[in-house]
């Protein structure tokens, strides 16, 4: 207690540092814990950077220990594009580029609206056609050959995009005065939320075809998208309902008094405000759905994670699964972190607007 009375400016730098690190029991404990953690991470740094092989002449050169990043270089195409025919992989790359372009174009809330929605719909159709081929001299690639990053991205974007309108209907239905609409919405939301996604995917991919007439063939990728969409819709519906609940009734009364028709009111007045209020949980659902797409590997859809797994099984290379998984993890992290940062940015915009 004695040195707490002396002004900090009078202390020597070393003494100040010691006080900062070991000033009280909690600080001392945290300092020790951090030191242990850093020491534990040292071998990882050694493995990942110091002993790593960045380029090798032959796969056997990787046996010496240390990370084999050369493996990622050699298998990059397989991880990113799966079994997609190599001579057509420029199409898969174009799809990724198109998607990124659309995302970048949509960042500013000022451009949001019906027109942007049209552009996205058109863009996604173009992407799907480009992947599929069979037109304009592009060779036909069945969905069973699609794979890697384009499949992961398309699954996430399409399932979230399709889920949103259903989620809005479910959320409005759950708050409806009509008992039937309310009952149906509650039932659907609770049933889907009560099922594991893996179960839904199994039903969609494996059980559903058994019940349908044999000549009814719906593409497996399509059925997977349907399962992801239903799952996302149930969760999004609850998030949106949270936003609707925070909306003052005066907003609806003002719209009615101005004679604004119901669905236009929903689109222009209610939804923008409801969504603004629930940006954090909405982001959460989006990030979870991006990662949930990796579950499709259990029904045999070849997303990025499945592609990395199959790349790692190459017997030519000495056990490279660590590197493959770390690489895929990095890609997931970049996507999810970007979504998180973007949502922070949107929140700041909303805050700035309400400041005097």
């Amino acid at each position: 207690m004695a040195n707490a009375a002396t002004p900090p400016s009078g202390e020597k730098p070393v003494a100040r540092l010691v006080k900062l690190l070991f000033g009280d029991p909690l600080a001392a404990a945290l300092t020790l814990l951090s030191a242990v953690l850093i020491l534990a991470l040292l071998p990882l740094v050694q493995w990942a950077f110091v002993d790593a092989h960045w380029t090798v002449a032959a796969p056997e050169d990787c046996r010496a220990g240390g990370a084999c990043w050369a493996f990622i270089g050699a298998k990059l195409r397989l991880i990113l594009f799966g079994l997609y025919p190599p001579q057509s992989q420029w199409r898969a790359l174009t799809v990724i580029a198109l998607l990124l372009t659309l995302v970048l174009l949509s960042l500013s809330p000022r451009v949001w609206g019906a027109r942007l929605l049209g552009i996205w719909t058109l863009g996604l159709v173009v992407m799907l056609l480009l992947m599929r081929g069979g037109l304009f001299g592009l060779n036909y690639v069945p969905t069973s050959k699609w794979g890697g990053l384009p499949v992961t991205l398309l699954l996430a974007v399409i399932s979230l995009g399709l889920a949103f309108p259903f989620a809005v209907l479910l959320a409005l239905g759950r708050r409806s005065k009509l008992p039937v609409a309310r009952g149906v919405s509650v039932f659907l939301i609770e049933v889907v939320r009560g099922l594991p996604l893996v179960g839904l995917l199994f039903v969609a991919a494996i059980l559903l075809p058994l019940f349908l007439p044999p000549d009814w063939t719906i593409d497996k990728l399509g059925r997977t998208v349907a399962a992801l969409t239903i799952f996302a819709a149930a969760y999004l519906a609850e998030v949106i309902r949270g936003g609707l609940q925070g909306l003052p009734s005066g907003q609806i009364e003002a719209s009615q008094a101005l004679g604004i028709p119901y669905w236009r009111m929903v689109w222009h007045i209610i939804l923008p405000q409801a969504v603004q209020k629930v940006i954090p949980p909405l982001t959460n659902t989006a990030i979870v759905m991006v990662k949930n797409t990796s579950l499709v590997l259990i029904v045999g859809v070849f997303d990025m994670l499945s592609a990395a797994r199959s790349a790692a099984t190459d017997p030519m290379w000495p056990a490279p699964s660590k590197e493959a998984y770390l690489f895929v993890a990095l890609i997931y992290f970049v996507i999810c972190f970007a979504i998180a940062r973007y949502s922070r940015h949107l929140e700041m915009g909303v805050k700035a607007r309400n400041r005097t």
């Binding site: 009111m265 923008p272 607007r353």
Partner: protein, 245 residues
């Protein structure tokens, strides 16, 4: 009969509670009517029934000759004829001031955007707030917000304006700027129904004061008569309270 608003035998219940009891009420074109009375007297319910923010249980309501019935088209038509200003402004917080006035025209009257924005600017200028057009409602004071709300309602070119306690949620120093706008509007010949406790405003612009209590119209009189020689004992009691507080 060329009345802007015609209400006959209006009844309204909230569950068991009889909020409006057999109300007869009419407003002539270009007439300014102030409705006053203690809280819970049914004055807000009455004007909210006129544009059907509240459904009435029985009785006839006619606005500009349009009969309110189960026909949704008639409901929409009545809401286009009657503009409303709320106690809590109810501006759209996610839209700029200009957009608050422009978007409703586009959504309910299908006005082309350019024209809607021009009209929004015109009416924002009339309520002296055009310089704030790019701001958002949350960045304005209460008095400014209420003036925007008046401009928003006027942009729809209503034949009647309904005001539901437009100054009750305002700080005292902001009441004047809103009342000034309303006085100007009255001088321009707008048909107005105003629920308010601002007796000075009633004295200044009202053609008629309607006093309500317990869901009934107790007294209807010209302002001079109402304020100097209210006939009904209940309105007298209401007025005496206003003076003492």
């Amino acid at each position: 009969m060329n009345n802007a608003i015609e209400v006959r035998g209006l009844n309204k219940f909230y569950g068991q509670y009889h909020a409006l009891k057999n109300i007869d009420f009419s407003v002539a074109e270009k007439e300014r009517v102030v409705i006053c009375g203690p809280s819970g007297s049914g004055k807000s319910s009455l004007i909210r029934c006129i544009n059907q923010l509240e459904k009435h249980d029985s009785g006839d309501i006619e606005v500009s000759g349009i009969q309110l019935d189960d026909n949704v088209r008639n409901l929409d038509a009545v809401r286009r004829e009657a503009g409303m200003v709320f106690q809590h402004f109810n501006l759209f917080p996610h839209l700029s001031v200009l957009e608050n006035c422009a978007l409703p025209q586009i959504l309910s009257r299908k006005t082309p955007r350019r024209q809607a924005e021009a009209r929004a600017g015109e009416f924002l200028d009339r309520v002296h707030i055009l310089d704030q057009a790019a701001k958002f409602p949350g960045q304005l004071s209460g008095g400014q917000q209420q003036r925007v709300a008046i401009a928003r309602a006027l942009c729809m070119r209503p034949k009647v304006m309904l005001f539901d306690e437009p100054t009750s949620a305002l700080d005292p120093e902001m009441i004047r700027e809103v009342l000034d706008v309303m006085v100007t509007l009255a001088e321009e010949g707008m048909t107005m129904v105003v629920v308010t406790h601002e007796m000075g405003f009633a004295r200044q612009v009202a053609d008629r004061v309607v006093y309500m209590e317990a869901g009934m119209v107790v007294e209807t009189a010209s302002p001079e008569q109402f304020f100097t020689a209210a006939r009904n004992e209940r309105s007298q009691r209401f007025l005496s309270k206003l003076v003492t507080t």
